[in-house]
Amino acid sequence: MSLSRAKARKRQRMYIIGAALLAVAGAAALILTAFEDSVVFFFSPTEIIEKSPIDPDQRLRIGGLVVEGSVQKLQDGKTIAFAVTDMAQTVPISYSGILPDLFREGQGVVAEGHMSSDGTFVASEVLAKHDENYMPPEVAESLKKSGYWEEIEAKNAEQMRN
C-alpha cells in the first residue's frame, strides 16, 4: 500500500514537473518569435532617412518635433499632414483622424504607422498618453543625438515663463 502511494506520488510529481516545463518552454518559444516580428522599433527622422527605403509592411514608430507651420488639413477635411524633425532631418507624416489632446506645433510627438513608397510616413496612430510637460523620452533622446537638445529645452523654458 505504502509503496503504491509513494509511486503514485512520484508519478504525480513527474506529471506536474513535466507539464510545467512544457508550458514554460512553449511560452518561451512564443515570446521569442513574437519579439521577432511584433515589436515596434522607434526611429528618429535622421535614422528614417538613413535607412530608406523602408519596407512598407514594417510597423514602426517615429518621433520628433512637429515643424512649425507644417500642419495642414488636406482636401477631404479629415486627413492631416504635418512634418516631424529632429532639427537635422525632416519627415512628412499624414494621419486621418483626430489629433490627440497635446498635439502642438513645435512640440514633441510620436507616431506609429509605416513608410509609404513616396517617402511619407502614414500614421495609423498619433500617441499622446502622457502628462502635460511631456517630451516623449524617445524624442528627447533623438534630439540629444542630433545635438539640438539644449536649444529646444531653452526655448521651451522660455515659453513656460511667458
Partner: protein
Amino acid sequence: MLAELGHFALLLIVVTGFGQAVLFSPLWLRSSIRATLQGRPTVLAATGPNGITPEFNVTGPVSAPLPFDSQISRPGHYLVLPAGLLLMAIVAQAALLHAFIVSDFSLPIVANVSHSSTPLLFRIGAAFTPDGGAMILWLLAASLVNVVLAMQLFGAGQSTYGQDDDRTLFYNAMSVLGLLVGVLGLATLIDADPFLRVAVAPLDGRGMNPQSQDVLRVLREPFLYLGLAGLMVIYALTLSGLLGCKFDRRIAETLRFWVIASWVALGAAIAINAYRSYSQQAWGNWWYWDTAENSLLLPWLLTTALVHCRAVLEKTETLKGWTAFLGLSALAVGWFGVYLTRSDLFGPLNETLMKPNDSIALLVGFCAIFAGSYYLFWRRGDELGEPRPFELLSRESSMFINSVMLALIAAVVLIGTIYPLVLRWLDGENITVGGPFYVEVLVPIVVPLLFLMGFAPTLRWRQDEMWMIGRRMKLAAILSIIIVLFVSIRFIDLSPAPLIGIGLAGWILTASLSDLWARLWRQPDHGESKYRNLQLLGPRYLSMTLAHIGLAVMLAGGAASSVWEEQVVVSARAGQSIQAGPYNLQYEGVALLAGENYATRQATFILYRHALPVTELFPEIRYYPIRGVETREAGIWHGRDGDLHVSIGDRGDDGGRVVSVRFLPMMPWVWAGMILMLTGGTISILTRIFLRFQKNGVSAS
C-alpha cells in the same frame, strides 16, 4: 499644524508597525515583553532564541499562549496595536486631506498637484495621485485590513479546522503584516514624504493634472490600494504558514475572504481604468497594454490563479507549494507594479539614473522582503507535508493547469512590460511592446485555458473518466458548435480569430449553464422541492458560475466589438447627419461653456435610431487654463446592440469640425461581463460575512 500632526502620525505608524512585528512575533522576546507590559507575574517557559525553527511548534503553543490565553479570552487585547495603527493612519490621511482641502501650498505635494480653483472633490482626489499621497492611502488600507485580520483571527467565531497551534500561526501572520506596514511607512518617509514643508509657500499651486480630473480616476485609487492591502494579508498568512511548516486547510479557510476580496478590489480597479480609457477620446480603446494597466493586471492574474488553488487546498490539501508560491508572488508583482508606475523608469535613461531618490526605498524594501520570503519558500517548500495523489484527469489537476496558465500569462505580461526597459539599458535601442505582441503570445495560452474553463467545474475530485466528461459536456458542446456555425454562416467572411473568441465564449456560457441545470434539475431532490437543490448548491458555486458567465459575456463582447467596429471620421458642419451602424447622428453645433475650473467646447449631437430620436450626446473639448492643457471627453451611448462613441476634434479651415464616430457592436457586453464577474465575487464575500455573523449568533445562543 495639522500637517505636522500627520507627519508625527506617519512616524508613529512606522514605529507601531515594527512594534507589532516584534510584539506579535514568536520570538522568545514576546512572552517576556508582553508579560512585562501587562504587569503580570508569569512563568517563562524555556523557549530558546531559536524561535522560527520547526521545533518551535512543539514548544511554542505550550510556552507562548500560556501567559495570555486567559486574557485573550477577554476581548480587545489583541486589538490594541492594530487599532492604534489604524487610528494613526486615519490621522495621517486626514491631515493630508485637510492640507489639500484648505489648499495649504506650503506643502510641496499640494502645490504640485492642486490649485485653489480645483473643485473640492478633485482636491480630495488629487491627494491620492502623487507618490506620497498614494503611499498614505496604501498605508491606510493596510492598517484597515490589519484590524480586520486581527478581528478575524482572534475574534469569536472558531474555525472548523482549528488546531492547537492556531495562536502561533496567527501571531506570526500579524507580525509579518506589522513588518510590511512598517517597511511601507519607512519607504514613504524616505522616498516621498508628503508632509514636508517649504519655507516660502507659492501663491498658488500648479494645478491637478487635467487627465486625472475625473471621478472614475479618483475612485480607482481606493480600490487599487485595498486590493494591494488584501494581497499583503495573503502574503502574511502564507509566510506564517511557511514559517510554521504547516500550510493546510486552516490557512486556506482563513485566506478565503482575503483572496476573493483582493480579486474583487483589483478587478474593480481594472474595470474602472478600462472605462476611463474608453471615455477619454484621446485614448479611445478600453485596453492599451501600457505600464499602468499591466501593473494592475499582473496581481489580478495571480490572484485569479490563487482563487482556484486556494479552493483546491481547502478541499483536498494538495498543491500546497504552488499555492504558497502564488500567495507570495501576488504581492510581489503588485508591489513591483507600484514601483514601476511610481518611478520614472520609463523616462529618459540618464535622468532616471541621475535622480537617486526615485522610489528607491520602495525598491530596496521590495528586494529585501521578497528575497527573504522566496528563500524561505525554497527551504520550506518541500517540507509542507505529504500531498495526496490525484489523477491527471481530475479537478485538482485541471485547477493546477489553469493556475499555471494564468501564471504564464502574468509572466508574459511582466516580460513584455520590462523588456523595452532592459533592452534600452543594454544597447540603447528604443522599442515598443504593444498589442500585437501580447495578442500573438497570449492567444495560444488563453485559448486552451478558456477551453479548460468550460468543463473544469464539472470535473470530479481525485479521479474522473473521459467518457463521463464527454457525457456531461455533450449538451454544451453541441450548443457551442451551433453558435459557431451560426456566426460563421451569418458572417461568411469572418476571420478565424474572432470566431474562436465567440465560440469559446459560447462554450463557457453553455457549459456553465448546463452544469447549473444539471445540478438543479437532474439531481434527485430526495422528496424535497427543487428549490432545496438551489439551496444546497451554496453561494460558492453560484458566485463561481456568475463569474465564469461574466467572463464569457465579456469575451463575446470584446471579440464582436473588435471585429464589427465601424468608424467614421468626417468634417461636419452644423445640421449635418452622420450614419454609423443602425444609428444616425445629427450634429447641432458647438457651444462654449464654462466648467468649474475649465472652459469647454461642448458639441451637441442628437442620436436617432431608425429615424426615432434616442438621446442627446455631448462630447467635449475641455481647456484647463491652469496647466494650459486640453482634454477630450467622448460622448457615449450604451444601446441595445452596441455602444455609440462620438468625439470631436478641432475646427478645420473649411469651417467644418472633425467628428469621429464609432459604432462598437456588443460593447455593452464587455461592461456587463465585468460587472457580472465583480458581482460574483461580491456575492461570495457578502454571503460569507453574513453566514459568519449568523453562525456566531447561533453559537452564542
